[in-house]
Symmetry: C4
């Protein structure tokens, strides 16, 4: 029962984050098709961030599905993740409005990195509570996606000062890697409920 | 159980979309009744979009009611729908603030069309998972509403450059067609639970 | 089960309405205590609207508690209520920022009136579905509060052009009348579950 | 069942408060790293308020977990708490944008104080309803945290006019005191469900 409220609160926060990002897409004052051109990068950043929040929501969903009890530590690890995700509208807007200028692109990656670390912390807090034989631990296995992503972010952040396009290409690449929801947990769970 | 979180998240996103659209209704600085006149088209666009989101919510509700399990594919088909719906505040504001100028009216219709296609995709993903004898497939039958709407949008979009009033009339027409919630599913479900 | 989603969606919309109203409370650029003076009427309008949304939420809660099934008609009656409530941030901001100027004060009352009528419609839709011996019908009895409120609004709206203070006094009065949550339904329900 | 809607509504409001606070973090127009410097105090205020809302959410969660029925009095005590919490985005923005100027820092503390008092009132309303042998009363025991916090706020508020840094240091101190979620209730509940 406790779990359901953590899920509901997280759903609420994620739903709001995903939706207020669109507020950075300012309604233009002109009415020509050309008025959409300057907001195209804002739109593309929005799309990328939307996919990222969608990925986090999907994985959050799977992760909590394998959880029964929620400790105080998990609550704060979850809030820590939500904190970094709540900065997405800011970094998305900054990067998009400045057409991928180096610093905003690097900061965008930095917040992605911090969210990935917070996600890792949350995953760990859940596994620690589940104890040995944790469903989640078995499900994520080597967790190569979870380990590769921060590495790619760490490469992309300094590269933003060389070419923001390569950096954002790497952000897109990480999104694509995760796009396929974490079927590992789904599979483990199915094994467990025959 | 999984299903309930998808519903909760979708409810959250739809609730926020329907509510932040009203933020485009900027509080006027004057205090005369005449101050409401320039925002009348914004108000009418808001009303139309509110009805559209209401329709999507109602049908989403019915569609998921007939669903038991939610696969990764359904999760992403659902996020795809939410993405296009999340652009409603932008297109509503752009069309409303410019008193139905041609391009914004066409773009408004384009986003309606993309949402309709995404809805169609979500419906398909659910039917595919339910397999043969799907409740949803039986319920929607020929799905004439779902097939007619995109056709009407495709007519309305180019017409916006001839007469935006005809286009928006067509958008209102589609809303009226759907206004009556999808009783087909309701009926099928009642048959199934005697 | 259907009911729970209508409640969740309504909770979401009401939670957002009650919270985005505070966005009209613009952060002042000055740092003196006197900077709060010009926003005092905005604050008071916010307080009044917060109490109104709180009242609607409480009564909505009680009303749906007495409901088992939700028909298409109830869904739309509910959306109709949410539509008028969604205009509260606009009317609250307009009235507050203009220190209770006549027209905004009248429009504030008009939206209150429309919400009251929509609430009445929703109540009716639920009673009609519950059929004879409806718990809700018994619970609300003569419904003097529901009948008195629109009368007071109808008096307050034209009076705004004479004295906006009397009008807003009447709005406060209606809020006070409703402040005590609808114990009638609570009592009826308790009788029914001995 | 009633309880779940109060929780859902509160979750919604808290999720929105925690998320719209980030809107005060205005996207800068410059693209240099130095553009982040002027918004650093806004960011730190946001972080502090985020932790506060997180604490309130955690404790709210624990408090309602020990509750079975929700009376009209509890509903309003809860709305009273949400009202003061809804002012956090305003006071956070005012304090942060003015780099901890005395008046905004004092007002920030005042709203924290009012929220603490409202929380105290909600706690009391629940204990009163649970009657003698209340789980919540046993769980909170001497409630030293709940009693110390308002005292620290009362010291911090006037001190803001001497040194806003000491005041905000005290706000951080209170946050740290509460950071560890209220394990007392958790412990009592575990005792009760052996």
């Amino acid at each position: 029962m406790q779990k359901s409220r953590v899920e509901a609160f997280s759903d609420g926060v994620l739903a709001i984050i995903i939706t207020i990002m669109v507020l950075e897409l300012k309604v233009p004052h002109e009415v020509e098709m050309s008025a959409l051109k300057p907001i195209a990068p804002v739109f593309l950043s929005y799309l990328l961030s939307f996919v990222y929040v969608g990925i986090y929501w999907n994985n959050h969903h799977h992760m909590f599905h394998s959880t029964r009890h929620v400790s105080g530590g998990i609550l704060w690890a979850n809030l820590h993740l939500l904190f970094w995700l709540s900065l997405f509208p800011f970094t998305t807007g900054w990067m998009g409005e400045n057409h991928l200028a180096p610093t905003p692109t690097a900061i965008y990656g930095f917040v992605l990195l911090m969210a990935a670390i917070a996600y890792f912390g949350l995953q760990h807090a859940i596994i620690r509570q589940q104890g040995p034989g944790s469903i989640l631990a078995t499900a994520i296995g080597s967790d190569w996606k979870g380990k590769l992503s921060p590495v790619l972010y760490c490469i992309a952040i300094p590269l933003a000062f060389v070419s923001p396009w390569i950096s954002s290409g790497l952000y897109v690449l990480v999104a694509l890697i995760w796009f396929i929801p974490d079927r590992r947990i789904e599979r483990e769970l199915e094994k467990g409920e025959p």
